[in-house]
Amino acid sequence: MTQQDGKSTTLGVAVIAHGEDEIRVVPRRMVGRWIGAAVVSIAAAWVIYQLVTNPAYDWGTVWHYFLDGTVLQGLWMTLLLTALTMVAGALLGVLLAIMRLSGNPVMTVASTTFIWFFRGTPALVQLIFWFNLATLFPQISLGIPFGGPAFWSASTNALVTPFIAAMLGLGLNEGAYMAEIVRGGILSVDRGQDDAVRALGLRPWQGMRRIVLPQAMRSIIPATGNQTIGMLKYTSLASIVALHELLYSVQTIYNVTFQTIPLLIVASVWYLILTTVLSLAQVKVEQHFSRGERGSASDTRGRWGRLIHAVVTRGSVRHA
């Protein structure tokens, strides 16, 4: 009887009027929770204390470089690279997923092999590989292969700039991951939709574009959001080929001033700001795509909203 109202456990002590009786509800004592809270508080206090008192953080330097031109340039490159690799990755992913599901054995094998290779090797290795492509092919030509004439030719070193190497390394890698996300999305669409599409006489690509992909978006969009947040951080790998993105921009500064920690903090704070903004955007987009879906109408706060709500109302987060 005392468990009838789930809210009573979140309010500490509640009084439930039950017909003629009044029953006072006293929640379970949660000793473990109190001990946990104490440990966390002490740890948090220590973190804040040393952040303030340790001079090596050099907060003055952090603020000095936070809006520095070099840093902002790096920030812009990070955003540009994230956006372009995600667009390239998404397009490639759709193509690979459709190839894999096409039922054409050549396409399926080609796609599966691509995904196997680019998911199976680290993005960092691929990036360095592309940057050193000139070792393998000093010249890149357009023409008839196997020794035929070339119509156009260029030096690989001139062609594969750090930016192109980063685009190839991160974009192809992302394409392989996006392929699996898109494939999962397509497979999540009810088989009956495909029957209806075919029975009406729609061509396969018409059915894919108009009926299947729009429904697959419901699961593709949230996963793509996660990928974008991940990619924002992965772009820092491009610092290894001297691409002037956020991490490389602070490195160029601390290589001269030796203020390593303060400048890494500058980069970290920017990464945190960007990932936070993206996370909030993701919540909005997810809400948009789940609008009108069964079960979501009553709670429009989204996952984050529910979590924050659960935390600030001191409710238990167990079922959040």
């Binding site: 939709q193 209806a196 029975a199 009406l200 006489g201 729609l202 061509r203 429904q215 009108g292 069964r294």
Partner: protein
Amino acid sequence: MHENSRHASFLEARDLRKSFGSLEVLKGVSLEVARGEVACLLGPSGSGKSTLLRCINHLEVLDSGRITLDSELIGYEKHGEVLREISVRQLCQQRSMIGMVFQNFNLFPHMNVVENIIEAPRLVKGVSRQDSVDRAHELLAMVGLAEKADNYPRQLSGGQQQRVAIARALAMEPKLMLFDEPTSALDPELVGEVLTVMRMLAEQGMTMIVVTHEMAFAREVADTVVFMDDGLVVERGGPDEVLGSPRHERTRSFLARTVRR
């Protein structure tokens, strides 16, 4: 020679065989349906009724046998002695002449009722938006859903969704309509409204093949009742014959079980 031109039926399926892996689902099924005829297909679960319907519009590829609709071979072209698979383009053209209604409606959930109906006429037949929308409203009025044009499928009852699905199929002006247990997923009180629409279609002269467990509908509307079991047509005839005085033991025991339900 012109084997099809003389006594050919409108739909003619001859000696259809289909296996899924090692499971033979159709073991040589033949079926003839005349223009304007309503054939009801009965049989126990797993007897191959859905597979037969899906072979007729080539959703499943046959292992052997042939199907002609209005003297046109479905899915293949005759080149001398061999049958060659037709192009995707031609196949889509053929499928668009055969309407199909599914047990689970299979409406497009991200499109409203009118969009569901005009999608195929626009993409497959190239009908203009205005013409296809006008036609959609006519069809919706016919199935009694004129006021639901702007609703999304999830806002409709099962019976209403199935009537939209029928309107969607009719929008392609099909020569033949296939119904695969159109009322089996419906609450009992919603079955009637769908059967009413189907009865009206039959009266308008639509050629229909209906897989159903609704004996009253079969008795009243069907010209022919076909009883299938274990991948074969066991018995066919008028509804009074097959339902009233079945000749085969298997038909009798199936009917006894069904009526008791």
